[in-house]
């Protein structure tokens, strides 16, 4: 063990997963340093007591993380990324909604905060590796590293990690990748970690009450974005109070009377229009992504893969066609419902992540 003993910074949120990750690495004899990113002014809101589940990671409390670090006996630092979080995550979150997209802040937080800024902090402390509590696996494969799904398929978070670069993968580790949530809770109990019994919630960390509309209006002000609700075939059916209140596939809360159930099938920010239609109008057989990141050598020709178009979506067969300018086209074998601009499309081959991009 001494030979492979490493200095590892663990990104600690105060939740069960990252706490167990830190404790296990310490148990394995590594020199572990805990770090928590302060990304939000905690005095401005009260977070619910619990970790997030539907999203990527948890933002419980600096205090919880600190207490766990004390308990397992590792140095612990809080690093302040409030400004960067505002710029890279929150501003884009708002921009996306106001442009008719439905954003995925967790991916951005991983990309810009965890695997860029926090990794830099880790390297400044001469750490060999940065570890997080994500349910995914990074394994050496041939000349480089492969990103694979977590062993616990129900918890798998590889979708949120598609932006990892080859360089980052040499320095990032996910100690929980081979475990189930049950295993992790078991370790937490065995180690007597104070966070073992925390509940899980489904909210975005900076919108703890789930009311993202109110969050957007507090950030950017309300009004200005109201307009017409229009059927995909052109008929004006009503009015709405801001396109950011809607997301593709939404059925509830439209307040329209129509012989058949209507769904949001499009959002036109320029015309401030919410476009609705019958179920079949939700279906598309292709999409394009931008800012595509490949975790394998960029394919020279179309490849067959399985594609996931949101976190809770079973992958479906598709052909991925790399395009110029870091774009790619995804053609599905079967038409898909609810393709949502702003979400990520991630490509898999079995459990390996091949790449991904942002749906246009």
């Amino acid at each position: 063990m001494t030979a492979s003993k490493k200095r590892i910074v663990v990104a600690m949120s105060g939740g069960v997963d990252s706490s167990v990750a830190a404790a296990l690495l310490k148990e394995q004899g590594h020199e572990v340093i805990g770090m928590t990113m302060q990304i939000w002014d905690y005095s401005s809101f009260t977070a619910k007591n619990g970790e997030t589940f539907g999203t990527c990671c948890s933002l419980d409390d600096v205090h919880d993380a600190r207490r766990v670090a004390e308990q397992i006996g590792i140095p612990f630092y809080v690093v302040n990324f409030e400004k960067q979080f505002q710029r890279a995550v929150i501003d884009r979150f708002c921009d996306d909604y106001f442009a008719g997209r439905t954003p995925n802040p967790c991916v951005l937080c991983n990309q810009v905060l965890k695997f860029e800024l926090l990794l830099r902090r880790a390297r400044e402390l001469e750490a060999d590796l940065l570890a997080t509590g994500h349910y995914a696996r990074i394994a050496e494969e041939g000349a480089g590293y492969a990103l694979r799904k977590g062993h616990d398929r129900d918890k798998d978070q590889s979708y949120f990690l598609f932006t990892l670069t080859a360089e980052q993968m040499t320095r990032v580790r996910f100690p929980l990748g081979g475990m189930t949530k049950e295993d992790v809770r078991g370790h937490a109990v065995r180690l007597g970690l104070k966070v073992a019994e925390k509940a899980e919630s489904q909210d975005i960390c900076f919108v703890p009450d789930g009311d993202y509309v109110r969050f957007l209006e507090e950030e950017r002000g309300s009004g200005q974005m109201d307009g017409e609700i229009v059927h995909a075939y052109g008929q004006v059916l009503g009015r709405h109070r801001g396109i950011y209140r809607y997301t593709i596939g939404q059925r509830r809360g439209l307040g329209l009377s129509w012989p058949e159930p209507l769904f949001v099938v499009g959002l036109d920010a320029d015309k401030k229009r919410v476009i609705v239609g019958e179920r079949e109008l939700l279906e598309r057989d292709r999409l394009t992504v931008r800012e595509t990141n490949w975790l394998v050598p960029v394919p020279g020709e179309p490849i067959e893969a399985r594609c996931r178009i949101r976190y809770r979506h079973g992958e479906v067969p598709a052909v991925i066609i790399p395009l110029a300018g870091q774009r790619a086209e995804v053609r599905f074998a079967e038409p898909q419902k609810g393709i949502t601009p702003g979400q990520a499309a991630v490509f898999y081959e079995d459990d390996r992540v091949l790449g991904g991009g942002w749906i246009e």
Binding site: P75, N80, E82, K83, R121, E124
Partner: protein
Amino acid sequence: MKQVYMDYNATTPVRPEVLEEMLPFFREHFGNPSSVHWAGRQVSGAVENAREQVARLINCSPAEIVFTSCGSEGDNMSLKGTVDALRDKGNHIVTTTVEHPAVLSTCQYLEKNGCEVTYLPVDEHGMIDSAQLEKAITEKTILISIMWGNNETGTLFPVEEIGAIAQKYKVRFHTDAVQAIGKIPVDVQKANVDLLVLSGHKVGGPKGVGAVYVRRGTRMTPLIHGGHQERNRRAGTHNVAAIAGLGKACELAGERIEGDYQRVRDLRDRLERGIMERIPEVKLNGHPEKRLPNTLNVSFAYIEGESLLLNFDMKGIAASSGSACTSGSLEPSHVMGAMGVEIALAHSSTRFSLGPDNTEEDVDYVLEVLPPIVERLREMSPLYKKKA
């Protein structure tokens, strides 16, 4: 691992004599000093003794000392209490842009509640211009609030000049002397101060206790209403042990200022010289001469203070990137901003604040550890690369 503590402006270790002084009040002497019976009598003497000890250190009468829970309370009490009591006289406060948050935030709060506040600018050394202070005073001015020594840079303000101006215009003068107490001689008569705030844990006393000198005859509304403690100026059962500790700490500080702080100054200067000699592109923040003897604030170009502090800590060195009260935030310090320090340098500002327990060995250890860390962090810095 070797541990070197150079963050005395954040807090200081409790001196052994101070601890001894406090212990009986956690044990047998449990009484409430406001009680008339024997249990109260056992401790009321200790509170009054402490009052005398504090008064002696700053040259005032014991009756002019009000015990509080901390420096921030003292500042809040002084500002809010003055504004409330002098409502009919005016609503204008003159302060500086580099005060401690306990004063600045209180001023901002008071602005929301009908006060007008003038924030005097400072020059590149963090120094104010007394002429500007004089110009800022209007008929509505009721209070000048200017600190004795700055917590981040150590810059010492011309309190005697300020006191003279305050006297000339009959304006009340409040000074946050939390950092000056115990490090340099502080005399409220010479400086013509009306309200002076100090804190226990910055002078080798315990945390959770402070005092305000309130010049006799200064009308002020209490911040904490309640019982009749502290001549009705501050309600709340006395924190007897901490007050006794504060008193002892002030007594020791008075005895030792000269010897201790000459030695501390020598160590600080050795550190300053050593850094300047060993590391290129370092900037001193603060006044070259008019400065607390223990404080050294420097910026290492191209580096973030936060990275430096984490690396220091890994080597057992405790320093700070500014006030401990603002270190939760990565905004460059308001003090650096006010001094016109450019943002990149402000981000890298690092404060070493030494104390009587530091040794030459400590200084040499820092001088040995620091250059390779700075070099390594500069190598990793995007700003440094751009320049190269």
